[in-house]
Amino acid sequence: MTTYEIFISLIKAGLKVTIQVTFFAAILALVLGFISGLARMSRYRTIRFISGVYIEVFRGTSLLVQLFWIYFALPMMGIRLSALTAGVLAIGLNYGAYCSEVVRSAIQNVPVGQTEACIALNMTKTQRMVKVIIPQAFVMMLPNLGNQLIELLKSTSLVSMITLTDLTYQANILNATTFETTKVYTMLLVIYFIIGLPLSKGVKLLEAKVSEGRV
């Protein structure tokens, strides 16, 4: 097989699953990140505690361990998930914990004057968050969320280890059938780089845009 043929057959076989896992896991991570990030700053101790446990457990253990746990150990408790669900769930939960820190630090970095202004304008707490604090924090967290997305994309290669047929899995298969080891893994690296490149360029642009006009 020529290098070009390997490139094309890898993309045909595995790109869809890699994009699928990235997409769904990213949405899950973003939602969980917002919920747990906000919950971490809650007035109620119990809510703060629960979200703290979630964040620390998923940040403190390894993604691959979480993936194996969800795919191999959960069935013993009667919860059997498909490889795709397990992959999306593990990556989403893991990156959700990291995103929550991004969300929290961005919200805490909104100047206090904004909160004081809201109080002076007699806004409710919800209004203050939704109309003033979050819109400003969201812009600031975009570059960091973008970086998390790049890391998340790379981490989807782990799902090949729970038999999900993504790019990496297909490369292993192609390597075993063609013995074109050098070409297969080189092309695999190139493909991941090509997918990631627009993301990292985008993050650079965002970083420049966000810091524009700010001191």
Binding site: R59, F68, A171
Partner: protein, 217 residues
């Protein structure tokens, strides 16, 4: 569901594999520090081609998955005559991957040193190497210690990936034990707890250090 007797019976085997996990972490970390420092100096090189090439290499390594890089080192290197043991290949993979992250940390640390320090070195007739060792690096390193510490913890949590290239570290041990007994719950849970017990206190320690360093400045 959960069998305590079984959990205690496999605990010693998993704990003995912890040696491999920890030594892979530290050897990889030292390699990453060393390579990261070299990268960060090369990026600042006056020779345009060198700095551009190194920048390109860093970007390529950063934007591709560690797992694939491990496969590459373990399966492709033998084709060009370099056969590596799983441990060596794994340490090399993790070390090279994280050196690109650490080089960014070093770069920002170096850029934070005021230009006046370089001028002083020149005024005092220090050679370029003397200036690096005696003036610049001593100012670069203390503020970035917490960041570097966090990368050490991150690398520790990445070592289970080495099981993909047949290194028998703690996750692989748990997997082998699970395959033998058809019980995965206990093994994987123990591995998770070990990771948590080692990485959570370390990250709290680094947080404290960060506060202390912050107070100093």
């Amino acid at each position: 569901m959960w069998n305590w007797d079984y959990a205690f019976s496999i605990l010693p085997q998993i704990l003995s594999a912890l040696k491999i996990t920890i030594s892979a972490t530290f050897v990889g970390f030292i390699l990453a520090l060393f390579l990261g420092l070299i990268f960060s100096v090369l990026v600042r090189s006056d020779i345009k081609i060198v700095s551009l090439a190194v920048r390109g290499i860093i970007q390529f390594i950063r934007n591709t998955p560690l797992l694939v890089q491990l496969y590459f080192i373990f399966y492709v290197f033998p084709k060009i005559g370099i056969s590596l043991k799983p441990f060596t290949a794994g340490v090399l993979g993790v070390g090279i991957h994280y050196s690109t992250y650490l080089s960014e940390v070093f770069r920002s640390g170096i850029e934070a040193v005021p230009a006046g320090q370089w001028e002083v070195a020149k005024a005092l007739n220090f050679s370029h190497i003397q200036a690096w060792i005696k003036i610049i690096l001593p100012q670069v390193i203390p503020p970035i210690i917490p960041v570097i510490g966090n990368y050490l913890i991150t690398m520790f949590k990445e070592t289970p990936l080495l099981s993909a290239i047949t290194l028998v570290e703690i996750l692989q041990t748990a997997k082998i034990l699970g395959a033998g007994s058809f019980r995965y719950l206990e093994g994987f849970t123990i591995v998770g707890i070990i990771f948590f017990l080692l990485s959570y206190p370390s990250s709290q320690l680094i947080k404290k250090l960060e506060v202390r360093l912050g107070a100093k400045n």
